[in-house]
């Protein structure tokens, strides 16, 4: 693996992808497939959620199996705020991120005292605690989830319009990816990747390893909260499913498919998985089995994920 380094080729590929995503709504309108604009937003939101998990797992080396806690909490937070009349995105979304960051700080501060399998299990346990807590709250709709009374208002933009919402999501995802690319090459990024490589040695070089891991975990949690805030705006429902451990698993599958420890791994994985579900599920009756085989093939023959196959992964091999 080694330290992440972006290549010119990768930046060109990202720019081309961004340009095509900017043109996508016109294409969809031209083909008269309006439904797919909202679907495209959903894919980009999952790409953001997977990217946030990739920061924690792929860069920080912390195999968290509880990322749904932050994703789902983000969704519920926006729905609850909307119920109490706070619909301004400029207020509700940062508040949501602050809350999920705080949740990640609490969960991380305890979980990061463990390593390996114990860390996986304790993050899973915390996420399930959040899940059962939320499901038991009648005021938040219990098993049925909580409907969003109205979409957030983003400055002068009307997010009720699917195309406007799509562009807002795309802009946020692009900003996060640029920031993550910067982070990967910054001092902090080098430190967390090196902790992934050899934690003991980093401690012996004088790095307070725990603090660096915790900060990385909190950033990941806050970004997942932002993804949750966007998702509830897309679907109109804060569903308990978003908090369930299977959601954590889906996000993990996405980054394994796309590329663990690559800035664009989460995006590639989310696009593959959701497009696969949407398109192949119609043609292939047992798509989940096909997905299983694909996942196996990636783990065995392309451990850097699909992004890695195209040189979008770590360049110094």
């Amino acid at each position: 693996m080694g330290l992440y380094e972006s290549s010119k080729r990768r930046r060109v590929a990202a720019a081309i992808t961004l340009a095509s995503l900017l043109a996508l709504p016109w294409l969809i309108t031209a083909l008269d497939q309006g439904f797919y604009i909202s679907f495209a937003s959903r894919v980009l939101i999952f790409a953001l959620a997977a990217t946030s998990l990739n920061l924690v797992i792929g860069f920080g080396g912390m195999i968290s199996f509880g990322h749904a806690a932050f994703f789902g909490t983000g969704a519920y937070c926006v729905a609850v705020l909307a119920e109490s009349g706070i619909v301004s995105a400029a207020l509700a979304w940062p508040l949501t991120m602050a809350l999920t960051a705080l949740l990640a700080l609490l969960i991380g501060a305890i979980s990061l005292r463990t390593r390996g399998v114990y860390f996986i299990m304790i993050t899973l346990a915390f996420a399930q605690m959040v899940f059962y807590l939320v499901v038991s709250l009648k005021a938040w709709g219990g098993d049925d989830g909580l409907s969003l009374v109205r979409r957030s208002i983003f400055g002068g933009l009307d997010l009720k319009d699917d195309t406007t919402f799509y562009f807002v999501v795309l802009a946020i995802l692009a900003l996060v990816l640029v920031a993550l690319d910067r982070l990967a090459h910054s001092r902090f990024g080098r430190v967390i990747q090196s902790i992934r490589e050899n934690e003991t040695r980093m401690e012996a070089l004088g790095y307070p390893v725990f603090a660096y891991k915790l900060v990385c975990f909190v950033i990941g949690g806050a970004l997942a909260g932002l993804a949750g805030a966007l998702l509830v705006n897309q679907s109109g429902l804060a569903s308990p499913n978003l908090l369930h451990w299977m959601q954590s698993g889906t996000l993990m599958v996405m980054i394994v498919l796309g590329g663990v420890g690559s800035v664009y791994g989460g995006v590639v994985g989310a696009v593959l998985l959701l497009l696969g579900e949407e398109i192949l599920a119609e043609w292939v009756p047992h798509w989940p089995i096909g997905l299983g085989v694909l996942l196996l093939a990636v783990v065995l023959w392309a451990p850097l994920g699909i992004a890695g196959l195209f040189g979008w992964g770590r360049s110094r091999e």
């Binding site: 080694g2 982070l183 910054s186 990024g189 080098r190 430190v191």
Partner: protein
């Protein structure tokens, strides 16, 4: 070294037991600024345990460790490194998938007192040219400049041992704990390592744990002998060689 001597590290009556076995039994040791202090002793004497207690991976059951006037026992490993106490590893412990240069820049970057913390998220590291050029300095000192771009895992064993030394050096320690730097080396590589340590000896205080007696007697200003968890003698090489108790307990075994 006849100038006024100051004590850099003072270990007093440190004990550590595992179940009923005492790995360290009231061990005491004093290291003076500027010296190369060797720690020898038969296998199982507690040398590794002492290194663990000094570097902060093990808490002693009793005793005090004072470094540069500060009590160390409750401090975590990274805090001790920041105070200037760094260790090398007996079993090579590098970042095998990172380049040789990246290994050393990490060590340089970790010196918070010089560069500030690494909680910097936006500015690319590649503009930190002072850190990178300093890393090249350290690579030069261990003669690894030519392989700076290779992955650490691809180096020969001897080169990896040298990189190990470069990493601890780059933390600019006041006291360097060298845990068997010659472990697993052939005679040629050993000779190179002895030269390297000799060249460093003038600049940094060292505690050298080593089995290679030729190297120890050549490098050390003073030697302490650890037997069954206690330091039974400390003195200059000639005195240690002549000490009858030491001969009986340890040197006699191999000569």
């Amino acid at each position: 070294m006849n100038e006024c001597r100051t004590t850099l590290l003072e270990v007093s009556d440190v004990s550590k037991h595992f179940g009923g076995i005492y790995a360290l039994n009231a061990a005491s040791l004093e290291i003076q600024t500027g010296e190369v202090h060797a720690l020898i002793g038969p296998n199982g004497a507690g040398k590794t345990t002492l290194i663990h207690v000094l570097s902060g991976t093990m808490l002693p059951d009793a005793g005090r460790v004072v470094f540069a006037g500060k009590d160390l026992v409750r401090r975590q490993m990274h805090e001790r490194v920041a105070l200037g106490l760094a260790r090398s590893y007996q079993i090579t412990n590098l970042f095998p998938r990172l380049t040789v240069l990246d290994n050393v820049t990490l060590a340089v970057q970790g010196r918070v007192r010089d560069w500030g913390s690494s909680f910097s998220f936006w500015r690319p590291f590649s503009v930190d040219s002072a850190i990178i050029s300093e890393a090249y300095d350290f690579l030069g000192q261990v003669a690894l400049t030519g392989v700076a771009g290779r992955r650490a895992g691809q180096l020969s064993h001897g080169e990896q041992r040298c990189l190990e030394v470069a990493l601890v050096l780059a933390t600019k320690p006041k006291l360097l704990l060298l845990d068997e730097p010659m472990a697993g080396m052939g005679p040629e590589e050993s000779a190179r390592m002895v030269e390297l340590i000799e060249s460093l000896a003038r600049r940094v205080t060292m505690l050298l744990v080593e089995h290679d007696m030729d190297a120890v007697f050549r490098l050390a200003d003073r030697i302490s002998v650890l037997v069954s968890g206690s330091v039974i003698a400390t003195g200059e090489p000639a005195a240690i060689r002549a000490d009858s108790e030491v001969r009986r307990a340890y040197l006699g075994d191999i000569e």
